[in-house]
Symmetry: C2
Subunit: 598 residues, 2 copies
């Protein structure tokens, strides 16, 4: 039995314990919604990897020419490539003599950043591999890529094992503050997880470990510090100083990772104390610094990272939205996992809902759903579901602009029920089983209002900094962003008005940025420069923030503020209705209803 493993049937609990149910014993996989997208051609064309392969014939030693093997190897490399003064990883030096002789002096070397020999193999070798890893607070996802082509050969994700020490970032920082050695425990946990992931990826792809020569890690600052073995305690207290914000390059041996012996690690720079190397990777993936149009990039988690600007200037901030968007602090909220409601439509007349749950294909109104839900019981509602249910209730007039659930509606619908002193909407009742009831309470609406107001106020602050009144493009990055409907987000007032066809989800852009950095050293230099140029805004110290925040509490938001902007909302043009002049709120509501009814 592996270290730390116990058989539940043989173990007796004698005190407080923390149990991890290993992935292989879980009936339902956690949904790790991070897949690899195509790299933009900017980087995939003409990308030069940090690792260069060179196949050479090395001169044999003779009694009369007693130079060292390394020196003859270096001479051959210089003749072939003009690279000189190369250093060598100690772990490669110790293998050198055996491999040169085994190969009859015909070898391939891997040279890192034109300065260091990091691997050697007998004969000709054409392929080497790298790893692009996004260490999220909840999930860690790694892509094993061909370093020459940038192609993703396999992707593997796992739940961040640090979860046992705290669900979210701040509770992990607290864990470190409260427990001596706690930071080290979390460091060990995530590194061990990554080592297992590497094993799995190598198994899947049949790639030899000694060909896995590089790994890029992107992560938020707390994950960044814990991964590097730095106690993140300073990130939990003002003024939130990072240990370092610069890009980090170091041999993998320093982090006890099980890549090739001579493998190298790179982490892009952090932007600020709450805007990490993952946000830098998003910037790299989206390259707003090359755009003419004012671009807003939002990555929503417990904090939302916000990047705004264009080729002239970029500003960035972290918005402390809290975990409501992730389903926490919501009565029946939960993380995105099988059984969670992720899509909701509500009939504006009858207030009857239809919904979809993760792990089941169709809508709840379809016949197969009743069967499927027996295998995948409804367990709660996740972020995207909450946003859609609240927006739908607003569309249906159940929730007013101030966020109050209208008790009057209880007269015409049994879905609106009394819940203590306030009202609630019964999204799911017990028809699917004893525990399937999902209620949307007044508190839930308040939590989402607070979160969205925080996000919106932060964005407004950045817009003020740039002295702009509108954004031209919006990109949602991250797992959450790739599952919310931009229209609902705009309706709810999470984001400023913007032409709808330029509001897109970009999926796991941090992972994409990591892959770009992996396959292109030029991109690394680029992001290092761009992050330095980028202006960081600390929302907490900005005088206007509170005012913006209060104004943003309304749903969708304080309408009058957006009268001008909303003229630019370009609705889908499938219907002749578009030509009719509507108030912005109505236009958006109609458009949503049209989409719901499809």
């Amino acid at each position: 039995m592996k270290q730390g493993y116990r058989l539940a049937c043989r173990a007796k609990i004698l005190g407080d314990i923390v149990i991890d149910v290993p992935v292989e014993s879980q009936i339902h996989d956690q949904v790790i919604r991070k897949s690899a997208t195509q790299l933009s051609s900017d980087f995939s064309n003409g990308a030069v990897s940090a690792v260069r392969l060179l196949t050479i014939q090395v001169e044999e030693p003779t009694l009369d020419c007693p130079t060292g093997d390394l020196e003859r190897l270096q001479k051959s490399i210089e003749q072939e490539s003009n690279l000189n003064d190369l250093s060598i990883e100690p772990s490669v030096l110790i293998q050198l003599q055996k491999i040169l002789r085994k190969a009859n002096w015909h070898v391939t070397v891997a040279i890192y950043e034109q300065s260091k020999i990091i691997a050697i193999w007998p004969g000709e070798q054409l392929s080497v591999y790298g790893l692009a890893v996004d260490i999220g607070s909840t999930t860690v996802v790694g892509h094993l890529c061909d370093l020459q082509t940038g192609k993703v050969l396999a992707t593997h994700g796992f739940m961040n094992p640090q979860i046992r020490f705290g669900e979210d970032l701040m509770s992990r920082v607290s864990y470190s503050m409260m427990n001596p050695g706690g930071a080290q425990q979390m460091t060990d946990a995530v590194r061990q997880g990554i080592c297992l992931m590497i094993d799995e990826l190598l198994k899947q792809t049949q790639v030899d470990r000694d060909k896995l020569l590089e790994a890029i890690f992107v992560c938020n600052p707390v994950m960044h510090h814990l991964f590097l073995g730095i106690d993140p305690v300073e990130l939990g207290v003002s003024p939130f100083a990072l240990a370092t914000q610069s890009a980090i390059a170091l041999p993998s041996v320093n982090l006890n990772l099980n890549l090739a012996d001579g493998a190298q690690i790179y982490l892009p720079p952090c932007i600020a104390a709450h805007v990490g190397a993952d946000a830098a990777a998003v910037v790299l993936a989206e390259a707003p610094y090359k755009q003419d149009k004012i671009t807003l990039i939002i990555d929503i988690g417990t904090n939302a990272e916000i990047i705004l600007g264009n080729k002239d200037k970029l500003v960035a901030a972290s918005s402390p939205t809290g975990p409501a968007f992730e389903g926490a602090q919501i009565e029946h909220g939960q993380r995105a996992a099988p059984g969670a409601i992720e899509r909701v439509r509500i009939d504006a007349e009858t207030l009857e809902p239809k919904f979809k749950i993760i792990g089941v294909e169709g809508w709840s109104t379809e016949e197969e759903f009743n069967l499927a839900v027996k295998k995948t019981p409804i367990t709660g509602i996740c972020g995207s579901g909450i946003i859609e249910v609240i927006a739908s209730l607003y569309l249906a007039g159940v929730i007013k602009s101030d966020g109050l659930i209208d008790g009057e509606k209880a007269k015409s619908s049994s879905r609106i029920i009394k819940n203590g002193k306030t009202w609630a909407y019964q999204l799911v009742d017990d028809q699917y089983g004893d525990n399937s009831s999902v209620l949307i309470t007044q508190n839930d609406v308040r939590a989402i209002q607070l979160a969205k107001a925080t996000l919106y106020a932060s964005i407004k602050l950045l817009m003020t900094k740039l002295n702009i009144t509108k954004v031209e493009r919006i990109r949602f990055a991250g797992a959450f962003g790739s599952h919310i409907d931009p229209l609902y987000a705009m309706l709810l007032g999470m984001i400023p008005d913007c032409p709808l066809d330029d509001v897109q989800s970009i999926g796991n852009a941090a992972g994409t940025g990591a892959r770009i950095a992996l396959s292109c050293t030029k991109a690394r230099r680029e992001i290092e420069v761009e992050v330095l140029a980028l202006e960081k805004i600390e929302t907490a110290t900005e005088a206007n923030f509170q005012e913006y925040f209060v104004n943003a509490m309304a749903i969708p938001h304080k309408i009058d503020e957006f009268e001008n902007l909303s003229q630019n909302v370009q609705l889908p043009t499938q219907s002749s209705e578009d030509s009719i002049t509507l108030s912005p709120g109505t236009r958006r509501r109609r458009s949503l209803q049209r989409r719901n009814s499809r």
Copy 2:
């Protein structure tokens, strides 16, 4: 009980075993004859250590200036010293935040080679320390030095624990060839020994481990490879290729040494496959490349390393003298240890000897000796003793120029006894106890003849390479070299004729070179350049070697060859005898007799 330790009284031997008696259980300490000598003023004046200390005030972070701690530290360093683009050891980065805050932002940093931050402490720190280590096949000696002053604070030596795998270099190479994983065992053994030594030196000096920032290691190529974790197998087979001959600099964490976390390691370059970084350190200590006079440096071990030349040119070779000079292959030979005869004088008339043993102060003819020898019994004869006894027997006419022990002398002295078909000299009889008998046999004389002929022929070869017929200075390096009497060595024909007052022992010059490299980066660059310029001679492939070897078998050596050279022998001028014209042999013999009678 520590790992690997057993109580002899509780252990049952069930098969072949290797037992190490730990030093603390040994009644007699091994004599580790390596002490620190004064550094030449060339390097001690104006030496600039690789580690620079800088005490600085670092700007505190604020909410409005959210730069990383490292970046603010770098900024302060740059303002104070103009050093920029400094990297940082990962192990230092992870301590950074705690120390900066504990110190109220007033810290001292250690900067290595003007490029890397390798330590940080709160407040002002004025002293840091380094280690200069000579890893010999038999003994390992380390000097803990103040890096600013170069001063040696403590010295500690221990038996190289690799001895359990093989007494000499080649048997260790064989062990590696015959035993998979054998090289790793030897690597682990010596590194563990060094870690214990470091513990001991820190204890002795009360220096904090986090102040021990550098270590220089000098060693022969086999020790060099094993220390670095490189299998030395190629050093045992032609063409004896080194893995690398260049100087090596790497963080100590790569070698699992217990210095400060961010400490750095440096090994000077190796000169050739059998002329290691220890020989390079000797060259650094003696700096023959700065001499006008033709200088011969010899370091005698199982191999003798020979450096010859002056500021115009240096040549180097390794001479496979075998272990006879170290007491192996000698009937009653042994390593230098308490109880070993190390000095011998023989009365030319009576053939009665007087001698000294290691661990006892006076000569055997003194009264106290009989008492002392009860506590330190005579156990054999070591290298310096063998040379003196054979030279003395030659002076007394017992051994002829061809090396034969003259049986005729048995008629006048009971010291000359029959030993099988040949004769032997009874140096010690049973008067000091049952096992105290020490015999010098014909085979012993032959073994020494072979060894000295090899050494002499190698020197001759280098002289031929330089097209010279005389040397002007001779320096004996190493433990053995510091205990032989130059006059006896010259008489025996180990070394070419040379003005006697310019034949000196320089003690542990390799250790001295290591200390120079430790305290002076300029010296490191100097030796790296000098070693590249130095011409390496492989004696085995030189056509003349065999001829020189045969000619050098005679004692002292083929006289006629040296008739001219010997004119230059400058005898000590205490006596009027010096003005009398003597044949070179007689002159030398007289001089020795004079010295003996003092």
